[in-house]
Symmetry: C2
């Protein structure tokens, strides 16, 4: 009877789609939808949750064209980048602030991802939080690539970093490219040798042709130390050296100063992350920052032109502009 083959799709997805139509586009109550779908209201509630999580429903909040958002416009004017300011009340705890920024970042990131795309991701507490909030979005032929190694003298770090990577991969239906090397090498010669290994150099080459990267900022000397600095990745000598050379932060374990320079920071020769020049060659560089302790670090990254899209909480955004 039907002009084409019967629906061959997952019935759960089909129901979720119908429910979403009825709920979001026709304003029916879940009760009414339950009746139409011959199920219970609670199932409809779960169905809708499923629809939201899997990206069947997309909710956008857009400021009217005639009133660009204040802080975001100011940041564009001053730094020449696109900003997404996440409103968070000032007295919020650091933990909650990070979580709320990460939640928004995850949504925004979904808009940047598409088929045939390669995405580089760093790791750290910001990326970990972000990865937990990703909304799935079906893509074809896309790849998620780890930016820097996660092994340190204590652990291989593979579990931690790969958990983040995997979440990205499954959210976007992308293949995942791990990078099983130490975060920071003891001996730069070892790094050079390893970089000649085909299995490793393949990933290094992929990193150079990424379409988009996402990262948080590491701030070694800020009040709240980043994951990198309490995980045993660096020893006391390393810290002393960083301080002596004036480093204020890192992206994927590659360090820079507040003025944006990074020459003559010896640690970078031992780092597994892509050089800042490589990063600057990537078209879209999404930076997620939460909390004023990262302010100095953020200034450095901006001075180094390492960021094209910034996602930041409102308090930090204000301080950034005020300073």
């Amino acid at each position: 009877m039907s002009p084409s083959k019967a629906a061959q799709l997952n019935p759960k997805t089909r129901d979720a789609l119908t429910a979403a139509q009825l709920y979001y586009l026709q304003d029916l109550t879940m009760d009414a939808i339950a009746h139409e779908l011959h199920t219970s209201r609670s199932s409809v509630s779960r169905l809708l949750g499923h629809a939201r999580e899997t990206g069947l429903v997309e909710i956008q909040v857009r400021s009217p064209l005639d009133m660009p958002r204040q802080l975001e416009g100011d940041i564009r004017a001053q730094f020449g980048i696109t900003a997404h300011v996440v409103p968070v009340p000032d007295q919020t705890s650091d933990v909650e602030r990070l979580d709320r920024v990460a939640l928004s970042a995850a949504r925004i990131l979904g808009g940047f991802i598409d088929s045939n795309m390669s995405l580089g991701v760093a790791w750290g507490s910001t990326m970990s939080a972000l990865s937990r909030h990703l909304l799935s979005k079906a893509t074809h032929n896309s790849t998620v690539v780890q930016l820097n190694g996660a092994a340190n003298p204590r652990t291989t770090g593979i579990l931690y970093a790969s958990e983040i990577l995997q979440r990205f991969g499954s959210a976007y239906g992308a293949t995942v490219q791990q990078f099983p090397v130490p975060a920071v090498f003891d001996d730069p010669a070892t790094k050079a040798a390893l970089w000649r290994e085909r299995s490793i150099s393949r990933v290094v080459e992929m990193q150079k042709t990424l379409d988009t990267i996402v990262f948080g900022l590491g701030s070694p000397f800020a009040g709240v130390p980043s994951h990198v600095y309490i995980g045993g990745y660096l020893d006391d000598d390393d810290f002393a050296q960083l301080r002596a050379t004036g480093a204020v932060g890192d992206i994927a374990t590659v360090f820079y100063r507040e003025d944006g320079s990074s020459d003559g920071i010896p640690l970078n020769d031992r780092s597994s992350g892509p050089s800042l020049d490589v990063l600057r060659g990537i078209a879209r560089r999404v930076c997620v920052v939460s909390g004023e302790s990262k302010l100095q670090t953020l200034r450095g990254a901006l001075a180094a032109r390492l960021i094209t899209d910034l996602i930041v909480d409102s308090g930090t955004a204000r301080k950034l502009l005020a300073g």
Copy 2:
């Protein structure tokens, strides 16, 4: 202190925007938002309603790319047009069905509208329902043009038609172009004379260069008669004549047969609506149909290639394909 002039925007809109961000993007409860905005929860509820109505929040339901919606794909395959099928259970009353289709149509239409655009709108029960559900969307320099007159021997029809027009105008911030003429002239010569008046010919010319039009279908002989046919627009002779010439429906009081032809239907010479050739010259022609009583009428409009985008309830869509 602030790097740019303080926010000069409507505080209500600003709050609505913030609330929408917090609610839809950060999943806070209204209570929490009320606390952050220093207002009551009920105000936040209203604020969010305002945000949805004014298009600050946009909710899309998109089927995953790998499973295009069944009926819509079938309709495209068979008729070469874009369809939006609105799921409605079969036993729904005609009134509710119309309302639900109109609600969805209003949302979909919002996606078609943009600045610098001219939109032609018909009138009738479908358009009336549609107009009541429009979501506002700010545009510049756009115009809404009435497609056909609404006066009849009993009333000037201005109130009825202009109410619809006004709703479109205020939803999109567009200027409204009325068309104060009878729906159907008694004497074609009067129409010809009036068409030479500059005030009228201006509108007639505008109709020829529209970017988009929206209309329902009139079905004179269907079980449920359309607004046009019970409002005193046509007399018994007119009906007899329509039946004799094989007309099955009209768009903006211009009639056509089931095979799509419209030559030799005398009533069309007296009608105030744009000729079907004019309609076919318009890039996007959005048709809203609800209920199986319009099936035959819909077939005619499709045969006449009068539709580029069809918004239709699921039952009618199925019947359309089955027939």
